[in-house]
Symmetry: C2
Subunit: 202 residues, 2 copies
């Protein structure tokens, strides 16, 4: 973990196909989750729970859920919203086994008995971003997904035996990238920055 | 920005009182926002807009809104949820001018015409966490707040002249810390980690 934060953050991007021979030792997962739990949360409630899935059966079930959603309207919706290159990458990941090739899926959950749900997202996604950056700092690729947990919540709940108070929020696919990833494509910050009030250019 | 990511992430914590003599040059804000926009977002929609507030009038208005919410029930609710030390720090920040001493407030907004609102939180808070880490890497303290933007949305909308499609999501107070900050207090990740399914200990 010697890369500077700036190097890491400027190169982070989604990885949707993984090297099947790449191992993810428990020790790395522990480092990653330790960094995740240092994120801020509302009232320092730390309302996160992490379910680390390696089981091929569960990972296959996740893939089947995602692929079904893709076939049943998901692909068409997304094709209208993204570039052709992103669509192809998403299709490879969701419908052609790319995400299923990740040896680990970390499902980040909200313990809604520790903080009111209205403050849940602001307490879970900063930790999730820490998790993604920590994984990148160890050379792993990740893909942050929310469709699995938000659109197929009951199925995920069943597979992971989540109690009623535990809400699945995000599924992070994690492993060694199958191929070198290009740089992330982002619009310059300046185009989305305003001085004092909206519409006054930076 | 030479600190390793690990050093930064493990020491990040809320700062609620700032050095009034500490300047925040535009160039630093540009670096911080450039890192913010490299976070992931749903369908790479990049639905963020950043309003950078330096105006003393607007900052004072934010402080007044926060202080009123604190007096009108907020303090009592929070006192039941947090440790005495955190309560004192929050009271100093919210009701006694600590947060108002921040020379900059960055209001992070969601452009709900670029992504459906159900995917908004997962597209805004990773960028917000990047923003907090980037600020820390330059030596700034920050405090991520959501009460201002979620509980007083219409007032914030008016002050920042936000169009209907632009939703204020988070207010980040930013400046040089008034005093050296102690380490963040976090429960070990292991206590919130599960193997394969919820309840099976890591």
């Amino acid at each position: 973990m010697t890369a500077t934060f700036e190097q890491l953050a400027l190169h982070q991007r989604a990885c949707r196909r993984f090297d099947p021979s790449g191992a993810v030792p428990d020790a790395d997962i522990e480092k990653i989750l330790t960094i995740a739990v240092h994120a801020p949360s509302a009232e320092n409630s730390q309302p996160w729970e992490f379910v680390v899935v390696r089981s091929p059966d569960t990972r296959h079930a996740f893939a089947a859920i995602n692929a079904a959603r893709w076939r049943n309207g998901g692909a068409a919706l997304i094709q209208r919203a993204v570039t052709p290159a992103t669509f192809e990458d998403m299709q490879d990941g969701i419908a052609q086994g790319g995400l299923e090739s990740a040896p680990v899926v970390i499902v980040v959950c909200l313990a809604s008995d520790r903080i009111d749900e209205q403050w849940g997202a602001s307490s879970i996604y900063p930790a999730t971003q820490n998790l993604l950056l920590a994984a990148a700092s160890l050379g792993y690729g990740t893909c942050l997904t929310t469709g699995l947990t938000q659109r197929s919540r009951d199925q995920v709940r069943g597979l992971l035996r989540l109690p009623a108070a535990i809400q699945p929020i995000a599924g992070v696919f994690l492993g060694r990238p199958a191929r070198k990833l290009g740089p992330p494509k982002r619009q310059p910050a300046r185009e989305h920055s305003h001085r004092e009030f909206f519409g006054q250019p930076w």
